[in-house]
C-alpha cells in the first residue's frame, strides 16, 4: 500500500513538472505582456527596460528554472495586470469557483440520479422519453448558448433573477461566501444550472444504463421471486450496485467542473478563477496563467490520487498488484 502510494506520488510530481513545462512553452506564443502593461505614450526605452526587469529577455531555460524554483515555494510572482501576488489573487477568487462548482455538482447529482433511476425503471413511459430528449439537448448545446438563453429568459424577460455577478457576499475569514445572502443565492441559480447541466445529463445517462444492466441480473430476479417490494429492489439492491461507477465518475467530474467553469464564469461575469484565467490570457498575464494551470493540474492529480487509493481499498486485484510492485 505504501509503496503504491509513493509510486503514485512520483508519477504525480512528474505530471506536474510536465504541465509546467508545456505551459511554459505555450507562454512563448501568447504575445508580448509589456504592451498590455504600458500606455501608448510609454517610450521605447521604458518598454525595453520593463522587458528586462521582468526577465523576458533571459534564455528560456533560465526563465523555466526560475519559474520552477519559485513555484516549488508556492510563489507564482506578481500579476502583470493586477499588481498583486498571484497566490493572493487565486486565494481570493477560488471561493467563488468552488461554491459555483459545489452548487453545480449538487444540482447535477440531486437531479441526475433520481431521473436516471426513473428512466431506468420506466423505460418506455412518455416522461422518460421527455427526460432523455432534454438530456440530449443538455449534452449537445454549448454552455455559452445555454447561459445566454437562461439569462434572456429569467433576467431580461421575466426579471426574476440577476443577469450577472455574484450578489452580496459575506466574508468569513479569507473566504467570501454567497451562500448566506438572498441575492447571493439568487445569483447562484443560473450559473449553477448552466455549469451543471452537462454533468447532470451525463449522470442521468450513466445511472440509467447501469440500472438497466443491474435490473437484468440474476439476483434482482431472485429478489423478485422472493416477493420483495419494488421499492426495496429498486433502491435497496439495484441502485446501490449502480453507484460504484457513478461515484467514480462524479469525483472526476468535480475536477472537470472546476477546471471548465471558464465559459460559465465568462458568460455570467462570475468573479472566480476561470474568469481570472480568461482575462490573463487576453492580456498575456503570464504569472496568473502559470499559477492557474498548475493549480488545475494539481487538482486533477490530487483527485486521481484519491480515486486510486479508494480503488485499492475497494478492489482486491489492484491491492495484490500494488503489493507485488
Amino acid at each position: 500500500m505504501l509503496a503504491f502510494a509513493i509510486r503514485r506520488l512520483f508519477e504525480a510530481a512528474f505530471v506536474m513538472v510536465t504541465v509546467a513545462l508545456l505551459a511554459f512553452v505555450l507562454f512563448r506564443f501568447v504575445g508580448d505582456p509589456v504592451n498590455q502593461m504600458v500606455g501608448q505614450d510609454t517610450s521605447l526605452e521604458d518598454r525595453l527596460r520593463l522587458r528586462q526587469e521582468l526577465g523576458l529577455d533571459d534564455p528560456i531555460v533560465v526563465q523555466f528554472a526560475r519559474f520552477l524554483g519559485n513555484a516549488a515555494r508556492f510563489d507564482f510572482g506578481i500579476s502583470y495586470q493586477m499588481k498583486q501576488p498571484v497566490t493572493a489573487i487565486i486565494v481570493e477568487r477560488a471561493p467563488a469557483t468552488f461554491e459555483l462548482a459545489l452548487a453545480a455538482a449538487l444540482f447535477s447529482i440531486l437531479l441526475g440520479i433520481p431521473i436516471g433511476v426513473y428512466t431506468g425503471i420506466h423505460r418506455d413511459s412518455w416522461l422518460s422519453k421527455i427526460f432523455m430528449t432534454v438530456s440530449l439537448l443538455g449534452v449537445s448545446l454549448p454552455t455559452f448558448l445555454i447561459g445566454i438563453l437562461l439569462i434572456y429568459v429569467f433576467a431580461v424577460t421575466l426579471g426574476v433573477l440577476p443577469s450577472f455577478g455574484r450578489g452580496e457576499v459575506v466574508r468569513i475569514g479569507f473566504w467570501r461566501t454567497g451562500f448566506l445572502t438572498v441575492s447571493g443565492l439568487k445569483a447562484l441559480i443560473l450559473p449553477a444550472i448552466t455549469l451543471g447541466l452537462f454533468q447532470m445529463t451525463l449522470i442521468t445517462r450513466l445511472v440509467r444504463s447501469e440500472m438497466l444492466e443491474v435490473l437484468r441480473t440474476d439476483y434482482i430476479k431472485f429478489a423478485r421471486a422472493r416477493g420483495l417490494t419494488d421499492r426495496a429492489i429498486n433502491f435497496g439492491h439495484a441502485l446501490k450496485n449502480t453507484l460504484v461507477p457513478v461515484i467514480t465518475v462524479i469525483g472526476l467530474q468535480l475536477g472537470l467542473v472546476i477546471a471548465f467553469s471558464i465559459i460559465t464564469e465568462t458568460v455570467f461575469q462570475w468573479p472566480g478563477m476561470g474568469l481570472m484565467f480568461i482575462q490573463a490570457v487576453q492580456n498575456a498575464d503570464i504569472p496568473v496563467m502559470a499559477g492557474y494551470l498548475l493549480l488545475v493540474a494539481f487538482l486533477f492529480v490530487l483527485i486521481n490520487f484519491i480515486v486510486d487509493l479508494v480503488y485499492v481499498r475497494v478492489d482486491p486485484r489492484i491491492r495484490i498488484y500494488g503489493r507485488g510492485a
Binding site: I78, A155, S163, P271
Partner: protein, 527 residues
C-alpha cells in the same frame, strides 16, 4: 405619552430629512477591468476616466474637450519659457489635508518616477518651482505651446499622504512586492473610493466637501466589469446596470427597441489606419524579391484608391464610423475640412500600379489584431478583398492584440509588411500624431515608434521640430497642414476612419458622452 410623541416626531423628522436625498445609485459596466488605483501606473483612457472622478489635475476638460480650470483657477504664460499657475484655494483632499503648491511640486517628481507611465505629460527638463502656497511656476528650456494639453489626466497627489503610505513613487510593473497603495486613492475630486475589488467591483461615494458645485444627483456609484458582450447587453436590458460601454455594433437595434434603455452614439477621436512597410529594402512577406514596392508612393496611393471606404463604413462598421482623410479626428484639428480623401477609383489605382511596374500585382501578407478595435478583423478582410481587384493578393494573419503588438511593433523589430493600427493622440493635438505615427523612425523604433510601416519623409522630421516649439497658433496650424499634406500626397500612412463610441444607457439616466471615451459620472443625472 411624551416619549411616544418624541419618537414619532423624530421618526418624521428623519423621514423628511432623508427624503430629498433618496438613494440614487448609478451602476455601470465596462468590458475591461479597473485594476490598480494609481493613475500613474496605467495610461489608458478607461482607468484615467474612472479615476478622474476621484482625483483631479491642474486643468480639466469640459464636455467638448476644451481645456478649463481644474485645481488651478487660472494660469498665464509669463514668457515662452515660464508658465505660472494659480492654485484654487480651500481645496481639500479626501482625508482632509489642504491642497497646496507643495503637492504640485511633489506630483511633478512622482510623475517622473522610474515606473511612471505618464512621463509624457510634461517635458523631462521642465522644472516646477513653488512661488507661494498657491502659486507654481513651470520653467521650460524650450517653448511649448501645448504644455498643459494633457494635464487634465495628470492627477495631483497629496505629498503628506503619499509619504505616509509609501506611495512616493509609482509602483514598478515588475515589482516583486505589493504596494499597498495600488488599491487606495486619495484625491480632491467629487467622488471618493468606498471599496475596491480589482476585476470585480468598485464602489464610489460622493465627496461632501468637494470644492465645486456638483452637477450630478447621485448618492453612490457602482462599477463592475462585464466581459462578455451578450451579458453586458442583457444586464442593461434587465435593469441590473444603468450604463455600459461598449455596446456591440450588432446589438444596437435590440437595445434601442427595449422599453428601458437606448444607445448613445458619438464620434470617437481614435483614428484607424493602414501601415505599409516602406522601411526595408525588401519586403519580408511578399513574392517581390530584391526590392520593396511599398517604397514607391504610386503603389501606396494605388492601395489607398483601391479601398472602397464607403463599403467599409456601410457593411463592416454598419454606419458606426466617420471616414477620414486625415490621421487625426476632425474634432481635434481646426483645418481638417481642407483635406479630402483620394477618391475610390479602381481604374486609377490599377493604372498607378502599372506605372510603378506591377501590372500583374503581387502577393503580400497583412497582420491584423482581432480584439483591439471595433470590427478590426472585418476591416482587414474587406481591405484584402478590395485589393484583390487590383491584383494585390493579400494573405491575412489575424491574431489577438497581445500577439499582434509583439509581432508588428518594435518588440520584434516591426516584423510585418502590412498592418492595421489605431491611435488616439493623448494630448488631443496633431503634433502627437506627427511625432508618433507619420514621422521617421529607425529599425529599432527610435523616433516615431508607432509608425509601424516605417514610412519616412525627412521633411516631416523638420516640421515636427518646428511645430513642437511654434507658439503662434496660426503659423503652427499651417506647419501642421503642411505635414499632413505630405503624408496625404505620398499616402505614407493610409487613414481609414474614426470609429464611433457606442454606449448603452438606461432611459433613467442623463449623461455626457465625451469623445475621448472617458466615463465621467460627475455629469450623470438620474430620475
Amino acid at each position: 405619552m411624551k416619549l411616544k410623541t418624541l419618537v414619532v416626531t423624530s421618526a418624521l423628522a428623519f423621514v423628511l430629512a432623508s427624503a430629498p436625498a433618496a438613494a440614487k445609485t448609478f451602476r455601470y459596466a465596462f468590458q475591461g477591468d479597473l485594476n490598480a488605483l494609481d493613475p500613474y501606473t496605467l495610461n489608458e483612457s478607461f482607468t484615467l476616466g474612472a479615476l478622474g472622478n476621484v482625483m483631479e489635475g491642474l486643468t480639466k476638460r469640459d464636455k467638448d474637450l476644451k481645456i478649463i480650470p481644474g485645481l488651478a483657477e487660472r494660469w498665464e504664460i509669463v514668457d515662452p519659457l515660464k508658465w505660472r499657475f494659480y492654485l484654487r484655494k480651500g481645496v481639500k483632499f479626501h482625508n482632509g489635508e489642504d491642497f497646496t503648491a507643495d503637492d504640485v511640486v511633489f506630483s511633478t517628481e512622482r510623475m517622473r518616477s522610474p515606473a511612471s507611465q505618464i512621463k509624457s505629460r510634461a517635458p523631462a527638463d521642465m522644472k516646477a518651482v513653488k512661488v507661494d502656497d498657491h502659486t507654481v511656476d513651470f520653467v521650460l528650456t524650450s517653448p511649448n505651446p501645448i504644455l498643459n494639453a494633457e494635464w487634465d489626466t495628470w492627477y495631483m497627489f497629496s505629498k503628506k499622504w503619499s509619504e505616509a503610505n509609501g506611495a512616493t513613487q509609482a509602483q514598478a510593473a515588475s515589482a516583486t512586492s505589493l504596494n499597498p497603495f495600488a488599491l487606495k486613492a486619495n484625491g480632491t475630486g467629487p467622488f471618493m473610493i468606498a471599496s475596491h475589488e480589482p476585476g470585480v467591483k468598485t464602489v464610489f461615494k460622493p465627496n461632501p466637501n468637494w470644492w465645486g458645485k456638483p452637477e450630478h444627483n447621485l448618492t453612490e456609484v457602482v462599477f463592475q466589469t462585464i466581459k462578455s458582450d451578450a451579458t453586458r447587453v442583457a444586464a442593461l436590458l434587465s435593469g441590473d446596470i444603468d450604463m455600459m460601454d461598449p455596446a456591440p455594433v450588432q446589438d444596437i437595434e435590440r437595445v434601442k427597441a427595449s422599453p428601458n434603455a437606448t444607445v448613445l452614439i458619438g464620434p470617437e477621436i481614435r483614428t484607424i489606419f493602414l501601415n505599409l512597410d516602406s522601411f526595408r529594402d525588401e519586403l519580408l512577406y511578399s513574392n517581390v524579391k530584391g526590392k520593396n514596392p511599398f517604397k514607391d508612393a504610386r503603389v501606396r496611393k494605388a492601395i489607398y484608391q483601391a479601398i472602397d471606404i464607403e463599403a467599409i463604413h456601410n457593411k463592416v462598421m454598419r454606419g458606426m464610423s466617420v471616414n477620414s482623410a486625415l490621421m487625426i479626428s476632425p474634432l481635434l484639428y481646426s483645418r481638417a475640412a481642407e483635406f479630402k480623401r483620394h477618391p475610390y477609383d479602381v481604374a486609377a489605382a490599377k493604372k498607378l500600379l502599372t506605372e510603378a511596374g506591377y501590372p500583374q500585382g503581387f502577393e503580400v501578407e497583412m497582420d491584423c489584431p482581432n480584439d483591439r478595435y471595433v470590427n478590426d478583423e472585418g476591416i482587414c478582410q474587406a481591405v484584402a478583398q478590395m485589393l484583390s481587384r487590383i491584383d494585390i493578393k493579400v494573405k491575412l494573419n489575424s491574431m489577438p492584440k497581445a500577439k499582434y503588438f509583439e509581432k508588428a511593433g518594435p518588440t520584434k523589430k516591426y516584423d510585418s509588411s502590412f498592418n492595421l493600427l489605431g491611435w488616439t493622440p493623448g494630448s488631443l493635438d496633431s503634433w502627437n500624431v506627427i511625432a508618433n505615427i507619420i514621422g521617421c523612425r529607425d529599425a529599432d523604433g527610435k523616433g516615431a515608434t508607432f509608425n509601424y510601416g516605417g514610412y519616412c519623409n525627412p521633411k516631416l522630421t523638420e516640421l515636427n521640430k518646428q511645430i513642437l516649439v511654434e507658439v503662434d497658433t496660426k503659423k503652427r496650424d499651417e506647419l501642421i497642414a503642411e505635414a499632413f499634406r505630405i503624408n496625404h500626397e505620398e499616402a505614407g500612412v493610409i487613414p481609414l476612419h474614426q470609429q464611433s463610441l457606442i454606449w448603452g444607457v438606461s432611459k433613467k439616466v442623463q449623461m455626457v458622452q465625451r469623445a475621448d471615451n472617458q466615463i465621467l459620472f460627475y455629469w450623470v443625472k438620474m430620475q
